[in-house]
């Protein structure tokens, strides 16, 4: 049974990859065990230090899904504006796109082919 697959210019073998992952995990563990030993759970030292202010309620600290990747969306605002205009949700637009594709296909088949 062949495990690795050929991709034309290389190969992919998940078993080799798993072994590599295992080695990487071992190295990570080794590095981690070099860390400080005096860390203890349940003590004052795990509490976040917010410049002396009291910690806020955990529910308020949770970043809601809508707010994630805000910067990405802002930087591509123009693109997204266009895309939302195209995805109008209007059924007639969907049909128009189909007709457009049919026209393009006709051009390709009768003109180029």
């Amino acid at each position: 049974m062949e495990i690795s697959i050929s991709t034309g210019s290389g190969f992919w073998n998940p078993i080799v990859w798993l072994i590599a992952l295992l080695i990487a995990l071992l190295i990570t563990y080794a590095i981690r065990s070099l860390g400080r030993k005096d860390y203890k759970r349940g003590k004052e030292q795990i509490k976040p230090f917010l410049s002396g202010n009291a910690e806020e309620d955990v529910e308020k600290l949770h970043t809601k899904g809508d707010n994630l990747y805000w910067g990405f969306r802002q930087s591509l605002a123009g693109y997204y504006k266009l895309m939302q205009k195209i995805h109008s949700g209007d059924l007639r637009d969907y049909v128009v796109w189909f007709v457009v594709i049919l026209v393009i296909l006709s051009f390709v088949v009768f003109g180029v082919m």
Binding site: H87, S88, G89, L91, R92, V95
Partner: protein, 119 residues
């Protein structure tokens, strides 16, 4: 030329149906557009099976002067058309039922207003 008229009619029916779908706002009119398109396709199929001066393809009811099977129109496109009509009825019924439900929920049949799913 006269035998091409059904084909022209079929294609124009399809185009009229597409026009209705694209330019009409009312859901019921869009459904009618689909039905018109369907009639066009059915007409196209049924025309394919017709021969000049042919009779209906019923074996036991052939006039005695007719030579079998040259003067019978093709039965296969008729069977296809029939199947497509049956399917069309099912699609039509389902579309109408959904349109009724949309009207109950959205209070309108205007396709401009029926686009809560977008973006």
């Amino acid at each position: 030329m006269i035998y091409n008229i059904p084909f022209i009619a079929a294609i124009s029916l399809v185009l009229i149906g597409l026009y209705t779908l694209i330019f009409k706002r009312n859901l019921i009119k869009m459904i009618i557009g689909i039905t018109i398109m369907e009639s066009g396709v059915n007409l196209f199929l049924i025309t394919l099976g017709y021969r000049k001066e042919s009779v209906a393809p019923i074996f036991t009811a052939l006039p005695s002067s007719t030579t079998i099977p040259d003067k019978m129109s093709l039965p296969v496109p008729q069977a296809l058309t029939l199947t497509s009509i049956v399917i069309g009825v099912a699609v039509l019924a389902l579309m109408l039922a959904i349109a009724v439900q949309i009207y109950r929920r959205y209070g309108t049949l205007n396709v401009d207003k029926i686009r809560r799913l977008r973006g």
